[in-house]
């Protein structure tokens, strides 16, 4: 398989870049981690991004200490410093995955529309919890063909919020266009959104932390599967398969 290049954008406070790098390399991408100043130094504007890279990852964590809300400053950097327009990148065939606060950064960039955001739900939970997520619809390329998957999630103290003045319209839009592509199996809450092209996915669970079956909490109950890939791995395989096509 010819190697496509993937860019993992690293901002101060982000985490999981190495996991993404490992996952992408193992499915055949030539992954590269670049920090914000490096992107500026290398002059990677929208044209360069489209030209050089097939895939962009925005990891989660606490980018810029989550001042102004998670991912907000990173979104400002992408929009004003890098001059990136991610919808345009997707239209030209690029894939984008934002996880955790990376998802929030995508929301702040209005990739999915300007009626949605994430906010604190008041639980202040900082632990990691494994949740069951159900891919819905067929629009999203990243989740194509996946059944219910179990993934770890860091953003437990966060909830998905829709602009109170336009709840009906915004919810209808999500349903009608199939943009709410990932939902919780427990309460049907929205866990992930994709854009109209299906190439941009923002999600709250962290697939990069479940690449091998031994990442699961109870893997030892089924030790024969120790060498099997984790369920998060399938998302990256989908990306590789799409690029191959």
């Amino acid at each position: 398989m010819s190697k496509y290049r993937a860019l993992i954008l690293s901002a101060p406070g982000n985490r999981g870049e190495r996991h993404f790098e490992h996952a992408l390399r193992s499915v055949g991408f030539d992954a590269e981690i670049l920090s914000v100043p490096e992107v500026v130094d290398y002059g990677i504007d929208l044209d360069q991004l489209c030209l050089k890279y097939k895939l962009l990852i925005i990891p989660g964590g606490n980018s810029y200490s989550s001042v102004l809300g998670g991912g907000k400053v990173l979104a400002l950097k992408m929009r004003h410093l890098f001059r990136w327009n991610l919808q345009r990148f997707a239209e030209r065939g690029g894939l984008v995955l934002g996880v955790g606060t990376g998802f929030e950064a995508l929301l702040h960039m209005n990739v999915f529309g300007d009626d949605y955001t994430l906010r604190s739900n008041g639980s202040f939970e900082t632990t990691v919890k494994w949740i069951k997520a159900v891919p819905t619809g067929s629009r999203c390329i990243w989740l194509k063909g996946l059944g219910t998957i179990e993934l770890p999630m860091n953003l437990l103290d966060t909830e998905f919020v829709i602009e109170p003045g336009s709840v009906v319209e915004a919810t209808g839009r999500l349903e009608r266009l199939g943009l709410a592509c990932l939902r919780s199996a427990e309460n049907d809450g929205i866990l992930g959104l994709c854009d109209l092209t299906g190439r941009i996915l923002g999600m709250m669970p962290n697939p990069e932390f479940f690449l091998s079956w031994t990442n699961a909490e109870d893997w030892f109950l089924n030790p024969t599967r120790a060498a099997a890939p984790g369920q998060g791995y399938a998302i990256f395989e989908n990306a590789a398969r799409y690029c191959e096509q």
Partner: protein, 799 residues
């Protein structure tokens, strides 16, 4: 452009963070939590950006506005970003108990405290604005909005102190409902006040070249300095001053020097501007005044009137005449900084100190032929603290060392790990027995950090100068950090060189002297007392010049009768407190003890004591030495005159203390009726003294006042006098129980609300304390004595 931004959740959304604060208050103080009926938290940013209004508005819109969940209050910049009114009134309307009684607690990070939020905000704004400017500033804070008809001020203070603000690095203030509803706090002047650096309104014109806000490492504009000096000359008849060229060493940071040292080796000295002394110094050659200081107690306790002592007016005349004479004879520009005239007692007293810079040619310069270079000194490894020992790095280092030995490049190696540089030097007598030079150009910070504190991982290598370049290449190719910081020499001295000139030096014999009082430990003149610097301000300059002391911001003068000068640092609110006094021959250790205790009572951390003899007696030198021994404080003798002149036998003494925040300096007067009065023993070995000075604990700011008592306070009269003096200003009284003798110490007063926290802290830290009484509203001091009899004194009468 100045602006203030407040942002918080829209009225329709709950506020989880505010609810969390409410929950925590409910756990500790359930009755108070019940009085809070509604609570909200908002984020605040005070900003100054060098950009047009339109640009800034656009930036705010991009950075702060989250249209789904947040409202942004900006005064009149972005009215549409909030509710219908565009003020906090919109948010208050959502309170369940309308119209309600609202209160605000606002907190902000103290200046020069590391403020991550403000850095990120500034970065975000600069990203949107598309350019960066040195003048861009942001201070972050939070506003707690509370509703509760039964909430009183002490409740709000309790919340602010205990739950909302951390007083070590945040300051807070209360806002009334009217202030919250108005938009006046968004005005540029108000915002500028928060962002302004402290010295801005009070700085002297002469300090322009060290203006606040300007980075210290900027090159000084000598032409500007020259211009300022010309404009400040006392008399227009003085000949035109020399042009200030590069050959004049104009030293920004003058230190106090002792006249015991060889005058030839000093670049500056400090002395009193008595006439004959000026003449004496005028003979030394080219010189120039950098600043002249006059700081004097407004109320001199020991002032003996004009008949017994030299008239202060005459001293001043002598001073001015002398300056003019020196100026005319030496063709030297003279700058008078400020003379503080205190007319409190109608008979002002003065003493003067000043700095002189000697021509650079008189400085000892290091010539190439004098440099007996044997080995270059390299520091190899990590100098930073906290670097984990890395075995692979150590292996690389060792292989490089073997390589260097084989190539005859390395003469000797000293293990530095876990030891300070000073210990390394001292532990290698053989290598350094003929002396060595340390060149600190460009690496002064590194030097200061590692000179007396342990190095994490590193070696000192003596390198053959001929093989130096080869070794540097080897080190660079292997990625090993190194610093070339000096050479061994044959001069017999240990010298610190800066810019080719000797900055300080001791002989090699003194350096290796086993005594703890070796001058080597003073090479960097770190403060000798106290050793622990827990509350040391973040960025404090150890070397201060007299200019710093001369400035007296009127707003911060502490006490009606206190000869105190407060000087906030140019960069933040920490600063110096100078407490000076003139003392006659009755000077003894109790006097110094009392002065130091007064500094401590006000919250100062004693830095040093400086003595200037207006006209001294020789025997005092022994006294001073004894005091240094007893207190562990460096007493700087500025000038000795062994031949006493008639009538003027005074010692001018200055206690210099540093203060973490000059705004928080305590005063002596009792503030409120019903405050509780406690007695804290005040020996300098007591934890109570350390607590009052702010070295330990965090509730010192809860005290309303602290009164220092003299150590010979066995006499009840002195205790009574001190209490009366503290009660006088506010015309309050007190009921106290004095049933035993009080030695030196402090009376402190604390409010009823704060006392539990303070007492708990005292118990935790082992601070001895004794409740002695309460402040009362009527101006009478009622004392219950040992025999349980009441004695009532009218405050007005006794004073």
């Amino acid at each position: 452009m100045f602006c203030r931004i407040e942002s918080g959740y829209k009225a329709g959304f709950s506020d989880p963070e505010a609810a969390r604060i409410h929950r925590k208050i409910a756990e500790i103080h359930p009755s108070l939590a019940e009085r809070i009926r509604w609570i909200r938290k908002l984020r605040i940013a005070w900003m100054e950006f060098d950009a047009s209004r339109d640009k800034v508005v656009q930036g705010i819109q991009e950075v702060f506005k989250n249209p789904v969940t947040d409202w942004v209050f900006t005064g009149d910049l972005l009215p549409s970003a909030a509710g219908s009114n565009g003020t906090l009134y919109d948010l208050m309307q959502e309170s369940p108990f309308r119209p309600g009684v609202f209160h605000g607690i606002e907190k902000r990070k103290r200046l020069m405290v590391h403020d991550e939020d403000s850095l990120v905000l500034r970065d975000a704004m600069q990203t949107v604005l598309g350019r960066k400017s040195q003048g861009d500033r942001v201070v972050s804070g939070e506003l707690l909005l509370l509703e509760g008809a039964k909430l009183v001020q002490s409740d709000l203070e309790w919340i602010a102190r205990n739950w909302f603000a951390h007083e070590q690095f945040e300051s807070w203030s209360l806002l009334s409902e009217e202030e919250l509803k108005r938009n006046s706090r968004f005005q540029s002047e108000q915002v500028a006040k928060y962002l302004a650096l402290p010295g801005q309104s009070v700085r002297s014109g002469l300090l322009q070249f060290r203006a606040p806000g300007r980075a210290r490492d900027l090159p000084i504009q000598w032409s500007r300095v020259s211009e300022l000096l010309r404009s400040k000359i006392i008399s227009p008849s003085i000949p035109a001053p020399l042009s200030v060229g590069d050959d004049w060493g104009f030293l920004a940071d003058i230190r106090f020097s002792s006249s015991r040292l060889q005058i030839e080796s000093l670049s500056e000295t400090e002395f009193q501007l008595c006439r004959h002394q000026l003449d004496h110094f005028a003979l030394q050659g080219n010189m120039r005044f950098q600043s002249v200081l006059g700081v004097l107690p407004e109320k001199n306790r020991l002032w003996r009137s004009e008949i017994e002592g030299e008239s202060p007016l005459k001293v001043r005349d002598d001073f001015e005449n002398s300056i003019e004479r020196v100026a005319s004879s030496t063709n030297t520009p003279i700058a008078v900084m400020k003379i503080l005239e205190e007319t409190h007692e109608a008979v002002p007293a003065y003493f003067f100190t000043g700095n002189i810079s000697i021509h650079d040619k008189d400085l000892k310069t290091l010539k190439a032929r004098d440099r007996g270079a044997l080995s270059d000194l390299f520091f190899v490894g990590y100098g930073d603290q906290g670097v984990i020992r890395n075995l692979s790095f150590l292996g690389t280092l060792q292989s490089t060392y073997r390589h260097g030995l084989k190539g005859e490049a390395i003469d000797f190696s000293i293990h530095g790990s876990g030891r300070s540089l000073l210990q390394c030097f001292k532990g290698a007598h053989e290598e350094f027995q003929y002396g060595f030079d340390l060149v600190i150009d460009g690496i002064e910070d590194w030097f200061k950090k590692n000179f007396e504190s342990a190095i994490s991982l590193g070696f000192i290598w003596g390198v053959n100068p001929e093989k130096r370049q080869w070794l540097c290449r080897v080190l660079e190719s292997r990625g090993i950090p190194y610093i070339h910081f000096g050479t061994t020499s044959l001069t017999g001295d240990v010298r610190i060189l800066e810019g080719g000139a000797v900055r300080s030096s001791v002989t090699i014999r003194e350096f290796f002297r086993p005594s703890d009082e070796s001058p080597a430990s003073r090479l960097y003149e770190e403060p000798l007392y106290p050793k622990e610097t827990r509350n040391q301000p973040a960025h404090f300059r150890n070397r201060f010049c007299t200019e710093d002391l001369a400035l007296k911001p009127e707003d911060f003068h502490t006490n009606v009768a206190s000869p105190v000068v407060l000087r906030p640092s140019l960069e933040h609110w920490s600063g110096l407190m100078v407490l000076g006094d003139l003392i006659d021959q009755s000077f003894n250790s109790q006097v110094l003890d009392y002065l130091m205790r007064r500094c401590t009572a006000m919250g100062g951390q004693i830095h040093c004591v400086q003595a200037s003899y207006l006209n001294g007696l020789k025997s005092w030198s022994n006294t001073l030495l004894q005091l240094e021994r007893d207190f562990g404080i460096a007493v700087t003798e500025v000038e000795f005159i062994h031949q006493p002149e008639i009538r003027a036998h005074w010692l001018a003494l200055q206690i210099i203390a540093r203060v973490a925040d000059v705004r928080m300096v305590r005063t002596e007067e009792f503030k409120f009726a019903n405050d509780r009065i406690y007695w804290l023993p005040g020996d300098f070995a007591q934890p109570g003294t350390r607590w009052l000075a702010g070295f330990e604990g965090r509730y010192q700011t809860s005290l309303h006042s602290a009164v220092a008592i003299e150590s010979d306070g066995e006499d009840l009269q002195k205790v009574t006098d001190a209490l009366c003096f503290a009660l006088k200003k506010r015309k309050l009284g007190a009921e106290v129980r004095i049933q035993h003798r009080f030695g030196g110490g402090f009376f402190v007063s604390v409010g009823e609300n704060e006392r539990f926290a303070v007492e708990e802290e005292w118990r935790t830290l082992g601070v001895r304390h004794e409740f002695v009484g309460r402040v009362t509203a009527s101006p009478y001091l009622v004392i219950r004595n040992e025999a349980d009899q009441l004695e009532t004194i009218s405050i007005e009468d006794i004073l």
